[in-house]
Amino acid sequence: MSPTASGRRPRIVVVGHGMVGHRFVAAAVERGLTATHDVVVYGEERRVAYDRVALTSFFEVGADALSLLPSGVYDDPRVALHTETSVVGIDREARRVRLADGTTASYDELVLATGAAPFVPPVPGKDLDGCFVYRTIEDLEAIRDAAARPRADGSKARGIVIGGGLLGLEAANALVQLGVEAHVVEMAPRLMPVQLDGAAGATLVRHIEKLGVHVHCGVVSTEVLDDGTGRVAGLGLRDADALEAEIVVFSAGIRPRDALAREAGLAVAERGGILVDEQLRSTTDPHVWAIGECAAPAGRMYGLVAPGYTMAEIVADTLLGGTAGAFTGADMSTKLKLLGVDVASFGDAFATGPDALELVFADAVAGLYKKLVVGPAGPDADGNPREDAWVLLGGILVGDASSYGVLRPLVSSGMLLPENPEELILPESRGALQLGLPDEAVVCSCNNVTKGDLLAAVDVDGEHRCEDLGAVKACTSAGTTCGSCVTTVKGVIEDYFGEIGKAVDTSLCEHFPLTRQELFDVVAVHGYRSFTEIVEAHGTGRGCDICKPAVASVLASQTGGHVLEGEVGALQDTNDAYLANIQRNGTYSVVPRIAGGEITPEGLIVIGEVARDFGLYTKITGGQRIDLFGARMEELPLIWSRLVDAGFESGHAYGKSLRTVKSCVGSTWCRYGVQDSVQLAIDLELRYRGLRSPHKLKGGVSGCARECAEARSKDFGVIATEKGWNLYVGGNGGATPRHAQLLVGDVDTETLVRYLDRYLMYYVRTADRLQRTAPWIESLEGGLDRVREIVVEDSLGLGTELEAAMARHVEGYFDEWKATLEDPEKLSRFVSFVNAPGQPDPNITFTTERGQIKPVNLDEPVVLGTSIPVGAPR
């Protein structure tokens, strides 16, 4: 597209900032559309786009974790995002949109991504206080507030969901999470009538009734009952007794939000939705486009996110001048976990095709129902008919959908099924995995990634050369939306590496053909105490900067000795080797421990005096302590000595070890606090101080749900509740920020510490080198659920052993600074020059900035004048 006649950059206005609107903007930025165009986005919600697919996890993870744009702005300055701004009219002649405040904005291209609205059937009482829909975070917040209102007799509120489809069951899940007695009322004779057949629906009912959800199928709602004060009292049913409830959630389908388009004279489909062509361009106006649930390509709307994403990409591509993109329909396959039950439906799930046959495996006791729909294969490549050759047309899985990732791509591939296709759905079958998918099979339908795309990403001669699942996910986006395909993605990668004979290389480095976990086990089994013993028995050469610190960490975890003791000292990275953090001019920074961030005025004064006396730069860290920069290596013992004398100890800021446990001020001072977060933070920091781990570890404790300690951005975060503590695990800041996830809720302090002991020690034992807790949890089969099994349920019976290991750590702790000061041999290393210990390194220089020192790096080394004597051997 060329600039406009006036020379101004052409402007794309996007109406709606939901998942699909966001995807369009992201595509516009990524594909370079913003190099030539300005993009202006109007979203009517207060929040920027968030993951509505994962809406049910809102109560668990909160709004921030759902956000698709956590910073709230796009990095590209050519994109302007306006939230809480409704577009109320379109003047197509003038190419302007009218905003709710009466102002207008011009566009060259208009992209409508207004989504859909919940359909509320016209039953009497539908507007009573206590009636809700289930679509936005605000809807969930309103439902939560209503659920918190007890009934007159003080008992818990009850809730009814109208609609037993996919969304209805998610709404029921939300009610269950809120502890509300939940009923589901569905007009059709079974749950999820669009996706499931009768037997599958019945299997699903058995599953969710076990969870306390009451299911009423084949029942028609007649009215929402009024308690006489304008509040919901229940639901009237045709030919059945009314149900009592205080909450009614309508979840009876969605309708495209096309009013804006209708009023502007754009053609809409018979059943709603803006009529668009295969490029998603309005059939009425070539400068208007519609994507997502508000669009109706060929007259049909698509209520899933994956087709919406495809539409967004096609429009971005077309606006860039591309001609390849065309939307010709979408795979409406579904896989999800509803109330903990796997449900999947794909392809021709109802065997509607002329020669379709069904293969069913059902185990009512185990709650499994699996159905494959197969059809005769067409003629072979030479046009000869084939006998007894079948292809997969579709299927339904309830209770176990693990084979979905393999089965669904088979549908579109047209591949012949093996001789005994029932093998594909029998329990414990891995047959399907060995089938091999064709390259064009779509593995990740959310992001439209084919097996071929994955292979291109891992191709050893290719451009990307990804070496593991994480790299492939980052490179292709596969598995990053709903995550249901991750196992398949992993399988494809591993098969490829297997085929080309490249063992998926988990070796630490050239010296050890072992993972860190294997190394840990080897050291534990043989009781090694030195690098030399280990490398001679299990490795080659003399190690490197990768394996030596890893061995040092493993030895520290198991033996608990001083990290500078004997040969172990030569294994440490420079930070551990000097018990301080090296900075850019070769000086070090020093961080004394300030447990929980609590410090006395006297302590502050000592730190201030030390900084002043040694001329150090001081800065407050993110972990609630004070960092002193610019110490020469030979000054470190002098500085520690002053700090240790004043009662300070090492803060381990240099180690792959526990750093800090940050806290808010808690119930002692804060009027909102419900628990003493400072005391717990101090206790935890002192318990786990000095624990060497695969990567640095941080903790946080908040005294109430306001979460001022930002505990959920830590490897372990504790948040006070009225009844005790909630424990969250796997959070971190940094380049890939992650929110910690709830491991266990409302536990007392003793239980909390026991679980934390197990969690941390299991991490120390099994994580890879430099793997933080979040990717470690992700790497475990089963993820967070697996951690919970091991830590909370003690399914491996490791609990006592892990606790004992932690008890040994706590027992064996000593301050590394103090121990170094007391050992002349260790101290002897803290000299500038072995032959001129009194001579500071002339390469270290500083200037000043804002009243403090600042390091200077010199391009060439400094040579001291010849007047400096070269010392004789000491």
Binding site: R542, C544, D545, K548, A570, N843, G865, R874
Partner: protein
């Protein structure tokens, strides 16, 4: 940067420290002819000396790096950003266009001596 300095006719040997002042696979810095030099003793008791100045980090730190082997080549990893330098010739193993000056080392009667050329 100058080429590898091997022992030559003009080499002057400067005593720096005794052998027991240097642990295996742990460098120390020494001041040799006014220059900061990193001195290393490998596990096999080979002795090496490199300029202490890391050309990537522009800081005087190489003596504080981890010593190891890559194949048969003993090397030190700069403690700052981990670039590996071969101890024998000072060449960066990942970028052969970068080389750190090296100095010959010998041990005479328990005293470690570093050789420097005449100006």
């Amino acid at each position: 940067m100058s080429a590898v300095r091997a022992e030559g006719p003009t080499t002057t040997w400067l005593p720096v420290c005794t052998t027991d002042q240097l642990s295996r696979e742990r460098g120390v810095a020494a001041l040799v002819g006014g220059r900061a030099v990193a001195l290393f003793r490998t596990y096999d008791d080979e002795w090496f000396a490199l300029d202490n100045h890391c050309p990537f980090a522009h800081a005087s730190v190489l003596a504080r790096g981890i010593v190891g082997t890559r194949g048969d080549v003993p090397f030190v990893a700069s403690p700052m950003l981990k670039q590996p330098f071969g101890l024998r010739d000072g060449v960066c193993l990942d970028d052969p266009s970068v080389r750190v000056p090296t100095y010959p080392v010998r041990v005479v009667a328990g005293v470690v001596e570093v050789g420097v050329g005449s100006p």
